[in-house]
Symmetry: C2
Subunit: 317 residues, 2 copies
């Protein structure tokens, strides 16, 4: 049994991922999909699964297609933590992107079973050494952290809704994580600081050793402290189909690579940022998780090297 | 005589720069300046002057302070092409920046003597091997190109005003230059293409071998053809004082380094992009040209190496 193998082998490099599993209806200049597989925990779990064993905690309704469950299992993802609510309907997000696709327009958010989601961790999940708290209520993120017994590295994401509505709890979360993933607008919103570098360093001062600012088509920046910083380009794509899940596959790729290597040096964190960027760049090349479904490690490693090529310049002569 | 030396020695590596010389009144979150030295040709000439001899063509009024003339001369810039209109007033731009300072709000544009500017090239300027046509009327850019006898590399900048109002002439300019500097909004506006990579490649198809897209705080991208591209980060500054002239000092640093080296290989163009980014990053650290006034080659080379450090990651292991 594949799952059983994972349970036995995964104590040192497993990532626990907690967050939304959703059905997304999305319209972009490239087309539309209706009720396609989505959700932050889905994107990040699948991205991480290229590197390490993944345990997923989330909730779906009875309407959640069996093929999606089978796909997650086929990626070796441990889905015992994915609750199915009898008679419930799965979280459904409906949104659109226009023009440069840098901004999602939400048309409808039907929380459904996600409204009452409580992260219930199977007993053996609690000793997972790595956790990624995708964008959920900071109170729930704290509940997960409280249950973890053997954490080596914790990371979180968040969104404007919680920065506005649950600021104090979010700051508690930030105190307790090692890595914070946020986009540039969120970093500015949280700190009230318009200069991005200053804003990121203020988030760093709240607790996380590493603040990773996701800038969409402009790449990502990792802030460590006042003197170190790593800037990652975004991959220059001419065929962006659907940006949904880019940030989540970025975080999943990052966490997966860190868990696989167990190396928290800044040099390795930089590699992890590039793996995150790589997963995100593939993800936006198709709707839903369609590109990740057919992705191989060979594709990933080739694009990692491409990232080197596009930023390379020679030292002074 | 310094100027005389330049005239004699500069035939192989001189950049001719044509564009606005202005007085700027600027308000940013960091403070204000009134009628300070500005203008695209000023910023780009001073930036280029760190690398190579520069010849400047522009126009000012009688009100243009003598200290600015002396400053330009002190940088070794050949200002015989800088016309002074008797009784005229210098081009005056008044603008402000808010928040992240990514967008300039124009409060007033008093063209004054710049309204009737015609680029009159001193005879020996015409054999300059390098020319940078800063943002001016495409008709004037064409007039300059028509006068050049020994061009090795020509570059241009432009703005939304000309993309709207003189599109055909601008496209003629693009046909005749080797390098086009444009910001991301201009590239999208010119091509009607929202995907930045596709938009830049469409500009490339119009003529320029190199399209360099300036993205402000998000760095710059150089597009060469469908398969090659170079992404340069912006330097992560916590003390951005005034973004005025960033794009112009970028272009000036780029052109200066290319002229100094005479090497048009892609590897060298990448270095030139980093030198451009370096000059731009210093320029925004003070109002007007104040930071460039006290800048040294040591500062420049140290930041060039910093740029390497902030984007460096290891190859696959």
């Amino acid at each position: 049994m594949r799952l059983r193998d994972l349970e036995l082998s995964s104590t040192t490099n497993t990532v626990l991922i907690v967050g939304s599993v959703a059905l997304d209806s999305v319209e972009t200049p490239a087309g539309t999909v209706a009720r396609a597989l989505g959700g932050a925990a889905t994107y990040s779990s699948v991205a991480a699964s290229f590197f390490c064993p993944v345990r997923l905690v989330g909730v779906v309704g009875e309407d959640f297609p069996k093929e999606h469950i089978e796909f997650l299992a086929s990626r070796g993802i441990d889905i015992r933590g994915l609750q199915t609510v009898a008679g419930g309907r799965t979280f459904h997000w409906k949104g659109s992107y226009e023009g440069d696709m840098n901004q999602a327009n939400t048309i409808a958010t039907e929380l459904n079973v996600f409204q009452d989601f409580r992260p219930i961790l199977p007993e053996d999940y609690k000793s997972s050494p790595y956790v990624f708290l995708a964008n959920i209520d900071p109170d729930l993120q704290l509940q997960v952290l409280d249950q973890m017994t053997s954490l080596r590295l914790a990371a979180c994401d968040t969104m404007n809704f919680w920065i506005n509505g649950k600021r104090d709890k979010l700051i508690e979360v930030l105190k307790r994580v090692d890595v914070a993933f946020m986009n540039d607008a969120e970093v500015r919103q949280l700190t009230g600081e318009s200069n991005l570098a200053r804003a990121a360093l203020k988030v760093h001062d709240l607790g996380p050793r590493y603040v990773i600012v996701k800038k969409g088509e402009h790449g990502a920046v990792m802030y460590c402290n006042n003197s170190t910083c790593f800037m990652a380009a975004s991959y220059p794509l001419t065929d962006i189909i659907d940006p949904t899940g880019a940030g989540d596959s970025f975080a999943g790729g990052f966490m997966g690579y860190i868990a696989k290597t167990g190396d928290f040096s800044e040099a390795n964190l930089r590699r992890a940022v590039i793996y995150g960027s790589t997963l995100a760049s593939f993800n936006v090349q198709d709707f839903s998780l369609n590109r990740l479904k057919r992705l191989t490690m060979k594709d990933i490693n080739e694009r990692y090297e491409e990232f080197r090529r596009i930023v390379y310049f020679e030292p002074l002569r």
